[in-house]
Symmetry: C2
Subunit: 478 residues, 2 copies
């Protein structure tokens, strides 16, 4: 019992110390645990089950757009990583190097993939010969390794789980269309499934992916007002194709380079869910990714008929929703706290008195709202209530995001906002990296993206006052 | 076209050169492809989709027995790998060592997991404190690395995909029961889903897993008469628990060691499917793991109404089966050859004359049987025919296995069989490793398993003539 109790001791208040609150939640909601492998990710059943639901629903959306799954090697020989100049510069400093196979020193060292552009190019170079082989719209679910110095569960770790899509197309137009299409798949998924509203936009030259022509991003706002890059989609043009010689014979019998894209989201999305929806009682999961959507908790469970009624109810509800019962010997209050900590969207309390009245008490995790419901109505009410919760969680997150999105027309205004109001700042930018660097240097705020939906706040760059080219979302970020 | 055509050029006959036939099939059925990463596995869409179907169906069977999925780190610090003596001796010679993180030399080198017993022990040591925490029945789907010298697609590669279950129990009895239970899950899965009959048994001391008290195995017989170890389940007793200090406080308030198991199957199962069911026209997939179960091929597709009829039929069948149409500009004969090479269980041919008669031609991949069927009957006939194919493929594989399982009562008989009749040999064994070694040395045959269903062939060891302890399956193996 001692061990269980620890999980529902009060957690740090998020208003007091958001970082500590986050750590408390990931541990006490049992999402992650410890091993001796420093900085590497551990997903316990409650955490992995969320990832499985993300995978299933995202994978189905991928396949609707014609994506096929594949699997390429875990390791990249150094010579392959080095073929594209910008790319190797971006990744070489943070890869893990394998130098021995068994007792033999390798002739060429290999890195554990930090991302697989170079492997897909190597593969496509051998697999594509004709226009008939195009497009290739491949994806893989796997883990990647980046030797981060400071790590935090789900947000930054030396290994993380993700998917990486890599496509090859006959034309530049087709590649651009796919890059945008996948960004929209991610954005819609975040909103529909994770109940997280995102800003869709383009990264600046400084912030784009190593080797890309253009990087698109979805940016979400966490509860503490910090931004989180939540998914990216890159258009590579024919740069990688030229570096790796990925060519096809077109209908006109001439050799042409393919145009490529890549796009990915990671287990970081779980961090986003925690930091957008969580509260001082713990995790709050949107129903669509809640491994358990409904927890039925018996009251006075030793009284005749209570456990039977709980089982019968679970059986009935299980046809439409993911339901569990907690029949352990813990106290009801303890069970409530545990269900709340784990973010289970709905709790149903069933006791002898409820049964006498043919009723149960239904409690929403997100709002705490309680209602007494006739037992025979639960089968229709619960699925509908889950839909309502899903919808209202998105609305609340959007309202929070909008309430924490500010506009700065001058540098004084910008500095005042960044110091006093955590959130996104929309401001104009001249397009010069010197201003971008200076803003970061002076305030810690980075360019999150140049949103697709541009507005004109003023004619001048918020920092240097020269003619503005773009409206940009700025923010301090994870 | 050139590229496509290569895929259906005649392949090497399996009777002439089984190894070359195998290589031809994995490449021409488009299951695997090439990269510059020597000895590492590549799964193209047709290959990965089979693995996805294996995963889904096996994972559902796991979860029915209470298994929960987790994810532990990709890398193991050397000191952790070394904690269990037999285990490190078994694996250290074949692991890949990471020595650098970015530009910094690691203080302690780490290997890429060859298997994760040590990681799960490390994790359980921190996660288990009370009898209330038991049992832990965890599994992970991931890839592992073993630095093999000679590699073959699906059968032996430096990296492969698998699942590894790792459980911790309060008692020795419970651990033993779980070890057997998971072996039976594997055996039933092979028979029901892969249509591969297996022998269930125990490995000898020599062949058991590094660190295990007992290793159980399922052994399948390939078309060429060689054996393939297809899944294993290990009982560790409390050996790992003692090495790692994995203890719990029991109800009587005393500290006890847990008892552990592990069990796994790999992408090798795809190799088994190829070598059990394939023929000289290519792959033959059991319907339950066929990504496409039915291919509809139009004949004279430019004639009015043909493509429309094909689409309408596909639409109708798609409610119950995984169906595709081939409307490319290849010739019907070419399309047939391609569908056969890829092992798609049923082909439906639809041409203008068939349509006039309200009919279509249905062809089984496994037997080549053709029948003409009324269009309106297809919706009921096709799912039933897939069931029949699934069932008959298992029956044929079982008949082949049984016809290639021999009994040797004497050493002369053993030698004669091994030289002339590829297959399993059942023979008696004294239990002495010296005989096991000598048999392997003289014939290349290894002890596949001591089957759970024992028979008494004679009273004496087939090699030394001393009193026999066990009936053993011998065979040359992959």
């Amino acid at each position: 019992m001692a061990n269980d109790k620890k999980k529902v001791e009060a957690i740090t208040s998020m208003d007091e110390d958001f970082a500590q609150w986050y750590t408390d939640v990931v541990l006490k909601a049992d999402l992650t645990g410890y091993t001796s492998v420093k900085g590497f990710m551990v997903l316990k059943p409650a955490g992995y089950a969320i990832w499985e639901l993300i995978q299933q629903q995202l994978d189905a959306r991928f396949k609707e757009t014609g994506v096929e799954n594949v699997y390429l090697p875990l390791m990249i020989p150094e010579s392959l990583l080095e073929k594209e100049k910008d790319h190797v510069e971006g990744f070489a400093p943070e890869v893990a190097w394998v130098t021995y196979g068994g007792t033999s020193k390798l002739q060429e060292r290999m890195c554990v993939r930090p991302t697989s552009e170079t492997l897909f190019c190597d593969f496509y170079q051998k697999d594509i010969t004709s226009y008939r082989d195009l497009p290739k719209v491949y994806n893989q679910w796997c883990s990647v390794v980046r030797w981060e110095k400071e790590t935090r569960p789900f947000l930054r770790s030396r290994e993380f789980l993700w998917q990486e899509g890599h496509t090859a197309h006959a034309t530049a137009e087709e590649a651009e269309a796919r890059t945008e299409q996948m960004l929209n798949v991610y954005a819609d998924f975040c909103e529909d499934v994770l109940a997280i509203p995102v800003v869709r936009g383009q990264k600046t030259e400084k912030e784009k992916f190593a080797g890309a022509v253009a990087t698109y991003t979805i940016e979400a706002l966490m509860h503490d007002g910090k931004a989180l890059q939540s998914g990216t989609s890159h258009n590579f043009g024919d740069g990688f194709a030229k570096a790796f010689g990925v060519q096809y014979t077109d209908k006109d019998n001439t050799l042409k380079y393919v145009h490529q894209t890549s796009w990915g989201v990671t287990t970081r999305l779980i961090g986003a869910v925690i930091m957008v929806h969580g509260d001082n009682d713990g995790l709050v999961l949107p129903p669509r990714i809640a491994p358990t959507q409904v927890m039925i908790i018996p009251i006075q469970q030793k009284k005749e008929g209570v456990l039977e009624a709980v089982d019968a109810l679970a059986e009935k509800l299980s046809k439409a929703v993911r339901v569990k019962t907690d029949k352990t010997d813990k106290s009801p209050g303890f069970k409530f706290a545990e269900q709340e900590m784990r973010g289970i969207p709905i709790r149903i309390e069933v006791g002898p008195r409820d049964l006498e009245n043919g009723e149960a008490v239904v409690v929403r995790r997100d709002t705490g709202d309680k209602q007494t419901v006739k037992l025979e109505e639960l089968e229709t009410l619960i699925p509908a209530l889950l839909d309502t919760i899903q919808k209202e969680m998105l609305e609340r997150a959007r309202a929070h995001r909008d309430a924490h999105t500010y506009t700065a027309a001058s540098w004084d205004q910008f500095k005042e906002i960044i110091d006093t109001k955590p959130g996104f700042i929309k401001a104009m930018w001249c397009g010069d990296q010197a201003c971008e660097d200076a803003i970061k240097e002076e305030t810690g705020a980075t360019t999150r993206c140049m949103p697709f939906e541009q507005e004109c706040i003023s004619e001048n760059c918020v920092y240097c006052g020269k003619a503005a080219k773009k409206m940009v979302y700025f923010g301090r970020a994870y």
